[in-house]
Amino acid sequence: MLHRSKYIPSVIAYILILALTLVGCGTSSDSGNTPSTSENQNQTKTTQETAKPNDPPVELTFYIANAPVKDMDRIMDAANKIIKEKINATLKLVVTDWSAYPQKMNLMISSGEPFDLAFTGSWGELNYFQNASKGAYLDITDLLDKYAPVTKSRVPESIWQGVKVNGKIYGSINYQVWGMAGAKGVQLRKDFADKYNFDWKSIKNWNDLTPFLDAVKKGEPGIIPWEYSNQADNFADMPLIYGMDSVGDNKIPGWIRINDKDVKVFNQYETEEYKDYLKTFRNWYVNGYIKKDAATMKDYLPDRKAKRIAALYANPYPDLVDMPELGVQSFMSQAPPEDKVYSYSKRFTEPFIPANSPSTAIVAVGANSKHPEKAVQLIELLNTDDSLFHLLAFGEEGKDYKKISDKQIEMIKDMYNFNWSEWEIGQSYGRMLWDQNANVELSEKMLSMIYEADKTAAVSPVMGFVFNSEPVKTQIANVDATLKEYLYTLDSGSVDPDKYYTEFLNKLKKAGADDIIAEKQKQIDEWKKANGK
């Protein structure tokens, strides 16, 4: 009696553990079944309604990063009517918060969980190239030609090169509203430039700006003449300004020159351009054109919103010399629009397509997708069917937005709002709707200029090359630590380059910068041979 009772607690514990596991399985399979049966009922109902005797529509899952969207169900119902009619499929759009999306996708990929479509790219932790070479995405080179010819033809061939892995396309490019070709330059406050008679049209490099910054410093107390931000370092994050392009991550040593046919990799921190840059920025810092804490400042928005910035780096293409009429809607970045802080923008460089820009926004088909053909058909639909795209991007006319002219709409407050994330799912261009703030004529002229440039702009000599950083992982981690220690203080001019520049270079070498450069060169040479360049 007593002997038996000894076991009771442990038996209870075991039973409970077992029971919980079983309960877990039981309810989940239940809940897994219920929606599918109800869906089946819906499907049979709709197939009866449309009187189509063919197969029931397949459900395609599409994962994107976005905050939870209000009234999503209503819009999806409407969207699925269009999709069902066109390609006999339904779309299940799954949104995951931006902060968890990359991790979630990587987990789904490593667990082999099937998905039909997913938004990806080559920045942050989205890892398009690694995932594609791992086999997470389906090779859609042929499927695109067959099922998405319009989407394929709209993007110039040179840009498709930028998403190929081993010669195959693993994702459809969301050829973004703002095009691919870009130029780097600056944005100045119009009122100051006019007040000090600054000849902004002729600036071509940082040094040309000095007189302007000086005048602002002397004449405008409380204004920061130049915004240096470590989020967009004025040297390490903008190789184009110096006629170079990065290979892999921007800041890691090993850039190439864009006009170099031999594609020689070198350490960008050893160039004359970098030494000149340091001289200029140290001079700016000492003279007080740059904020004292610029090197460590994390959040630049408050200064911009409070209109304290007189000049800053920008991506102006086309700029106010290319298209002077843009002046009426050109405001300082992030300044409150009701204050109408006008700006001049001037680019330093010609339009150029860097190697990493085609892979900014990609829709990939999952390797385990059961309906890859339908998935590619959906890509085509999202890129060509304007009513579907507008529905997803802006909601329903009359309920979520009002049309105020042929191409312009006004969003209704507190209704469906896709959080301006429509660039993740595709694009309908040509007949794009603009919101109430845009000047349609100007915007369209600007866009056509960019699309034109995309066909003619210089393309990075390493377009289509993907650097595999695996063999030099340790060196990259070490170099990264050194960069964190020195780069921002040097580049913001906070420390004297005469003292710290050589120290910085030595530390980089010790951390293994040369190994990284050699590895990049080796891989590029192999890539060139394989592609017959």
């Binding site: 009772s5 000894k6 076991y7 009771i8 607690p9 442990s10 209870i12 514990a13 409970l16 553990i17 919980l20 596991t21 309960v23 877990g24 399985c25 309810t27 989940s28 399979s29 809940s31 897994g32 976005n66 905050a67 939870p68 969207v69 209000k70 999503m72 799954v94 995951t96 918060d97 931006w98 902060s99 968890a100 991790q103 979630k104 987990l107 789904m108 490593s110 667990s111 969980e113 928005l301 408050p302 919103k305 409070a306 970045s333 992030q334 409150p336 629009p337 009701e338 969003m411 407050k413 507190d414 959080n419 301006w420 919101d435 109430q436 703030n437």
Partner: protein, 299 residues
């Protein structure tokens, strides 16, 4: 004379102690008040005037934004409360049953079972196997249950509770047994009432863990009716970050609602997330005190 001196000394130390705690309380309270104040301030005033304990320009726009922004916050509140209440109760039940079993000397293999539990403190499979287990084998993706089950047993809590049960005098349990009480009866009528301090402590830990858990939701929940509060607020925050960095978006928003309430919405979310969980403390405090006195009399 001596007595007077003692009185004075007592007064002085009382003053010092009180002062210390007043300062300490202020240090804890002021940041919370500041959060409250920022959440009630106009965004523009925050940028130009900085932070103040009393809002310079009162505005509810932060709260308005949080409530209007996305799917229903109220539904998320409901889900989080259900998960927290059910989850904490089940956690306490499972953990106490298990800890009691492995704390009793007459249970065979208790050390082996304990080892299996404690092994997971030191070694775990990592995120990917965890994800695979939940989605592929347990099929718990997109269910309310997953939010409860993943936090159901915590090895640390089992360890704490086992040690507490071990400290209970064997003689109480034995005398109960002699009086003819069954194991369940002993456990629920004798052991648990003696264990309110540890139950209150673990209950507090776990209810806060359930309340604050957003990552489970981010990984496994795709149905917007099952979002938890913390996930929704987290999503709201990263969405504000995203919108602020998107020129086109922030311009359009500014046209319609003035300035995108970055800071104030962030703090409003913070205030909302403190929510009802703060009520847990005064409720549970009673049990802490009760437990302490109970132990004192016994000793």
């Amino acid at each position: 004379m001596g007595q007077l001196k003692m009185k004075r000394e007592g007064l002085f130390s009382k003053l010092a102690i009180n002062l210390m705690f007043i300062v300490y309380c202020a240090m804890c309270l002021i940041p919370v008040l500041l959060v409250l104040s920022i959440s009630l301030t106009n965004e523009k005033s925050l940028l130009t005037d900085g932070y103040h304990l009393i809002p310079k320009e009162f505005s509810l726009i932060g709260y308005q934004y949080v409530f209007s922004g996305t799917t229903s916050i109220l539904n998320a509140y409901k889900i989080t409360m259900i998960v927290t209440a059910v989850g904490s109760f089940l956690h306490l039940l499972v953990t106490s049953l298990m800890s009691y079993a492995i704390s009793r000397n007459e249970v065979r293999y208790r050390n082996q079972v304990s080892f299996l539990v404690f092994f997971t403190i030191l070694f775990n499979g990592g995120l990917a196997p965890y994800y695979i287990l939940i989605t592929k084998y347990l099929h718990l993706k997109d269910t309310l249950l997953v939010l409860i089950i993943v936090l159901l047993v915590s090895p640390v809590h089992v360890l704490i509770m086992r040690n507490f049960f071990k400290a209970l005098p064997d003689s109480i349990i034995e005398s109960a047994r002699i009086d003819g009480s069954g194991e369940f009866n002993t456990f629920f009528r004798i052991v648990l009432p003696l264990s309110t301090p540890v139950l209150a402590t673990i209950g507090l830990f776990i209810s806060i863990a359930y309340w604050n858990d957003w990552f489970t939701s981010a990984l496994f929940i795709e149905n917007n009716k099952l979002y938890t509060l913390q996930y929704l607020l987290q999503a709201l925050m990263s969405n504000i970050q995203y919108l602020l960095s998107n020129e086109q978006a922030s311009r359009a928003i500014e046209k319609s609602i003035g300035m995108l309430p970055g800071e104030s919405a962030r703090m409003a979310a913070c205030v909302l997330s403190i929510g009802p969980i703060i009520l847990m403390y005064p409720v549970l405090q009673r049990y802490f005190v009760k437990g302490l006195t109970l132990g004192a009399v016994k000793a």
